[in-house]
Amino acid sequence: MENSLFSKPRDLFLDVVNPRDYVQIDSVSHMYQLLKDSVQKPLKMILLYGRPGTGKSMLLHKLHHDLSKHQKVFMVSTPIIDEDDFLRVLAQNIFGHAPREVMTLNRFLEVSGALSLSDVPIVLLDEAQLYSSALMEKIRLISDARAIKFVITLHKTDKEDVIAKEHFQTRIWESIELQNASAEELKVYIQKKLLKANCFDVANMFNDKNMKLITSLTKGNYRETNKLLFSLFSLYCWYEENQPHSLQYNAIKPKWIEMAAIHTGLIHA
């Protein structure tokens, strides 16, 4: 099964975030440019929000990857929930300060002030909806003091929308919203991914009808698309091994797209 024609494309659609796999898509690279510009402006906090699976973590990782070539930037991809730990980790990684004492906010600001860096260091916080409001308040104070510039990503579900409004609306100085892809963008996403990995033959199999079906099933969501294609190619691997006569190489079978959608729960049957 592993040397199947379809095992490589299948693994391309594993749901992992790696800046090297970043694909340029119209609206996404626009947003990325905005994000990069915001970081260079004298802002205190930048918010990147959008529904789950719209590529926030991907953009944040890419930003980290690109910025770290030129400046001090630290990424917190898994939230550090404990306040003391949070300040400690930041102090250590940004100011090179490994304190023995408890790290209070005041102490943290003192340490930062003593260093008087020329550029405000940048900290990227993924999944910010998981931080408590008390910790969020401290984060705000730190950025108000211009000790650190934060770039924050946030889920945009209805509940979190409220948090976003309460917490950030007046305090965030730039916010950027990511959205699901259009049919055209999703096609570019899939094709670019396949072509990048030299899966030309498989890229040839996707026609416009296939793409319409995939977009209507996933609503253009990148994560849902990854899941759908992962199980679609798993199906192909299975058929290739067990029923090779049922394979067609000139187009993707709608039936198999729908079966993959049933498997991932996009269709209820």
């Binding site: 690279s29 915001s38 529904r51 299975w238 058929y239 996009l266």
Partner: protein, 247 residues
Amino acid sequence: MLDIKRLERRWLKYKIKKFLPYAVGVIAILILGITTFFWTYPEDSKNAPKVVTLPQKLPAEPVVQPIETTVLEPSMEFVQSFQGTPPPQKAQAVAAYSPKPVQRQVYSKPVVETFNVPEYTPPQPKVLTPAPKVSTNANGISINRDESKLDIDELQSRFKENSNANLGLFIARYHYEHGNYSEAYNYALKTNTLNNRIDESWILFAKSLVKLNRIDQAKKTLQLYISQSNSDNAKGLLESIDNGSFK
């Protein structure tokens, strides 16, 4: 990991469910048609109950649409439920025929596996809008839109390096879809020289020729290819060029 057999059964169930409203609609219209036909027939219309038995003749009717073949069975129950009731009134029957079933809603349940169980709210109309909505002061940032489209130049230079027939085919297709028929012709030809057994490269080549108004050459190419391969696609294309349905 994948239980294909079970998945296939679930898929079949899903398809039947999805097409049931159509089938019901078609049958309702058939019943309506037949009943009105007999109602307006003076001799038979005196005997109303006769009408009720008519739906049983349905399976013999040859007019059923092709896709309904798999779904006819379950909908017969529906037909039987009509028996004993008076002939359906026009308004009812029309209501039963809903040309667009609620198929969209079938997909909307979220399956997202993160710990805080984020929710997909049901389909939003804005999802499909292509243009990015920028909520901030986009002070004159203009990005090169073409840069993030599929970079065809890059693919073409890759093709120069690796001469991969599948990549050639991809590029030919791209150009054909974008109306660059002479480029499509070029790449179909290059693909074909690398591997002349790819059906689609012949097809694209011939189609591009037609678009470039070189119809005779297109036909000759197809005839040649058909004589070698017996390709059904090629035959189909040749036929539609001949009868003018492909232009």
